[in-house]
């Protein structure tokens, strides 16, 4: 059982939890994730670690409600307990002194990007951060990311904040200024990462993306999270979650993400009916 020290709503359907998990906090590195399961009948789901504090023994999880498991978690409050949190899992980001790096985030992917931005900055890189969303309130963690960025560019689809447009437009803009960009990270919705990868390839910048496939154990045991990278089968949980975005088979990945769409609907309806009855 893992205690929730605070539970905050930070954007529509997006939640920020601080959780007591000293063993995870003292071992976590940027780019890693945890598997959570809530309730004895709950599903195991992967969530990226938005922050970790080895001294206080806490980790921070920022997640979006996308189905029943996340909806059930979102109903928890400060002082409640999550049944299981396992991690840190996955291969950490390859953070080293590269020169100038570009970090692109969208949606709750910004949470996963934050420790990477901080790690890159603390290693002595010049960090250009691009955060995007449909509208201003969906662009989370602006101040925190800004603190560890040399430049922060915000884009929104509706122009409610920053530049009107897509993160890929901002990538092109940043690259057009003539400065050499040594590497790019992009974390966000799959479609965003796909197009960021295309853009990075056009610009000749190597790009890391963080994949979030359907997982069960998260330790390489089931192979449910497999994806094709450079024509080879890779396991998202142990070989990743970060992969070379230019080599990911995006269409195949998106198809696999839809595997349980029907069941997810049944599950969510069941949950909503249950909640309605309970009320």
């Amino acid at each position: 059982m893992y205690k929730i020290l605070y539970a905050r709503d930070i954007a529509p359907k997006e939640f920020d939890f601080l959780i007591e998990a000293p063993e995870i906090a003292s071992h976590a590195k940027p780019g890693q994730f945890v598997i959570t399961r809530h309730g004895e009948r709950g599903e195991r789901i992967p969530l990226t670690v938005a922050d970790f504090d080895p001294i206080r023994g806490t980790i921070r999880l920022i997640f979006q409600v996308v189905g029943r498991a996340t909806a059930e978690m979102a109903s928890l409050r400060e002082g409640d307990f999550i049944t299981d949190v396992a991690g840190p899992l996955g291969t950490p980001s390859d953070i080293e002194r590269l020169g100038t790096v570009m970090a692109v985030g969208g949606g709750v992917g910004i949470a996963a990007l934050f420790p990477i931005i901080r790690g890159l900055k603390e290693t002595g890189n010049k960090v250009i951060t691009i955060l995007g969303g449909r509208t201003s309130e969906l662009v989370i963690m602006k101040d925190e990311c800004g603190r560890y960025s040399d430049e922060l560019i915000i884009t929104t689809d509706d122009g409610s904040e920053g530049q009107k447009g897509l993160v890929t437009d901002a990538m092109k803009f940043a690259a057009s200024r003539g400065e050499r960009i040594d590497r790019c990270w992009a974390i966000g919705p799959t479609v965003m990462m796909k197009f960021c990868s295309f853009t990075a390839s056009e610009l000749g910048i190597p790009i890391w993306v963080s994949m979030n496939p359907i997982m069960i154990d998260g330790t390489g045991m089931c192979g449910g999270c497999r994806l094709s990278v450079g024509g080879k089968i890779k396991f998202g949980c142990v070989d990743g979650p970060e992969f070379d975005g230019a080599k990911v088979n995006w269409d195949e990945f998106m198809n696999r993400m839809g595997q349980y769409r029907d069941e997810e609907k049944i599950s969510m309806e069941r949950y909503e009916t249950g909640v309605a009855l309970w009320r």
Binding site: I216, G220, M221, G223, V238, E252
Partner: protein
Amino acid sequence: MAVNKTRTPIGEQNPNERVKNFGEVCLGYTEDEGREEAARCLQCRDAPCVESCPVSIDIPAFILAIKDGDMTRAADVMSRYTNLPAVCGRVCPQETQCEGVCRLGRAKGFEPVAIGKLERLVADRNYSRQSAQKAEGAAENGKIGRVAVVGSGPSGLTVAGDLVKMGYDVTIFEALHAPGGVLMYGIPEFRLPKSIVEHEIRSITNLGVKLVTNAIVGRTITIGEIESGFDACFIGVGAGAPRFQGIPGTALNGVSSASEYLTRINLMRGYEFPDYNTPIKKSKRVVIIGGGNVAMDAARSAMRLGADAVGIIYRRSEAELPARVEEYHHALEEGISFHWLSNPTEYADDGTGSLKGVTCEKMELGEPDASGRRRPVPIPGSEFFIEADTAIEAIGQEANKVLLSACPGLKLNKRGYIEANPDTGETSVQWIFAGGDIVTGAATVILAMGAGKASAMAIDRYVRSRKAQSDDKSGRRTF
């Protein structure tokens, strides 16, 4: 008194009924039936059954106790050799071990004693009594030394149970949210009820073994931390990484490893979706690739989930099938079909990214290969197509790298498994011992338990000799 030629019949769920539920197939003996079966045992001296048991259970002694109607004595005999009797009685391949060498069974026209079923009877009857029991060594806990066990499958539970009885302070680290390893995520409810596994684990934790779940060694706790906190470590993490054939179409929706399929069903109880939150597809036509026990488990699970047709594709013939005979027969009874001498070459897309079927080729058996079995060779132009919306690959596993990459000093063999002395579990690192599938590659529950037993003894010797050395140096005694 004449000895019955055939075994005492045992209750089983009718095949037509059981394919609709996940309840246990074999219902077990009653005590009366057990006594009747026990009376068939010849009580051999130098009994070959004991010799062929990987954990050397004194089989004639516990069978004699059943015959005498003394179930407590039977349980006491058994508990000296095994920490998991209810599991072994159900999933051991007795036909190639104890029952395979039974002298009664060697006699013309006689069936061997149903040793496995008797073991199960004793274990099941012993439930309530055992949970109240405390280990003789429990009071001494921590005085001899501290041992970390990585993985709570059959080998880890055996090491932990044996060492705690000797008076060690034992902590098991389990990566998943529930202990039991393959007993929980791999073997289905209808063959090994999870309540049985939970009971066996409780009887081990009742002895004082500490169990930490959600602890991935190499991630949540490092090998270095284990080294500084414990005198020795046993690694029994299982083989743990599914193998894929890698044929075209492997990424299609509907194709999965047996590990994923069975984990969804067993550990996560997907068959009770949506009461449980982990989904499993209700497939119509299912093919399983492979011929081992895991393939049988996956096929029989698919049937129970309501599939119209379930077929097993195996590249050799019936004679080479590696699955237990009992499981094969159960599969046949339940209506599962077999495509012998067949090998999948491609998964076909239905046009939406989901599986439509499997193209296979026919095989013939050629010269024996490294395993001594005749190598299957494709017959040119023999392609055929099996319609399927689900394909499950049960073709074995390889070593999981998560722990191994976090423990760089550990020497691995050519196949990527840990190199360990089969008699002691000793590895290239003095304080680390290993056993089970992570040493041998995929094998059986009982072999993993045998490795655990051997390692427990070797760990005891190692820790005692280390303590003796340090006592000599410091001039004081710690025990």
